[in-house]
Symmetry: C2
Subunit: 120 residues, 2 copies
DNA sequence: CTCCATCGTTTACCGGTGTAATCGATAGGC
DNA sequence: GCCTATCGATTACACCGGTAAACGATGGAG
């Protein structure tokens, strides 16, 4: 169940509130993305065909719900990148960012807390 | 300078040894990827056109070198994913993996060491 | 000097994606 | 009951990416 980046924006709307009508979705994403209403409709349809969302009738329109869980998607995307770039290991990625000096003090503190938290 | 995943496999060969002829590259990636020689040639050409690799003549053939640095590529890809999925922050990604139970004891140890290493 | 093998270059083709307009059904206003 | 606004569905189209074949130049064998 692979979804494209544009499709994932629509999923994003449905992951924060559910169910939503096509109008709702358009209201939530079209502005920020610079998309026309038609574009959103296309994306909704593609997601339906892929089975990533489901629809239930509500009078003259449909209400949509995500069938693909946000978590599963995050998982697949993240693992995919890790596999492609860092041989599946998380530490090299973190190391890469630290070497780049891309970590703020806050990042570091947060990571530290996380790591201390999960070893027992 | 965006390169596709197939193209990045070719870059991978050039990042480990440089310069390489087209034949070398084919030898190094075609088997593992199930690609024909023709496919590798196409990828080389697309990389040339994108300016991601350079070529210097060597008799009847060319030798290729990466112009795009592996590090810059890793950086762009990683940051891209972080931005798309985790609002640009590293900690949520790590947190995501830990919640998934996707971290081995070794991972944790490694991360711990890393984090202790870079705060001063 | 000629022919062939071998490069690199050009062209091909299909599916997916971004982006959107058009069409056909239908429910609600009058 | 009929017309129109509004849905969702269908169609469009260009570009990219994966995969590969065909073509054209050219250097080396004989």
């Amino acid at each position: 169940m692979k979804i494209s980046t544009a499709e994932s924006v629509v999923m994003g709307a449905l992951w924060t509130r559910e169910p939503l009508s096509a109008e709702d979705i358009t209201a939530q994403v079209a502005e920020g993305q610079g998309w026309s209403e038609a574009t959103v409709k296309t994306l909704i349809n593609r997601l339906l065909n892929k089975g990533a969302i489901g629809a239930e009738r509500d009078g003259r329109r449909y209400l949509y719900r995500p069938l693909l869980a946000r978590d599963a998607w995050l998982e697949a995307e993240s693992q995919g990148l890790l596999d492609r770039l860092f041989d599946g290991r998380l530490a090299p990625l973190v190391s890469h960012f630290s070497e780049k000096g891309a970590l703020t003090a806050e990042d570091i503190a947060e990571l530290k807390k996380l790591i201390e938290g999960f070893e027992p």
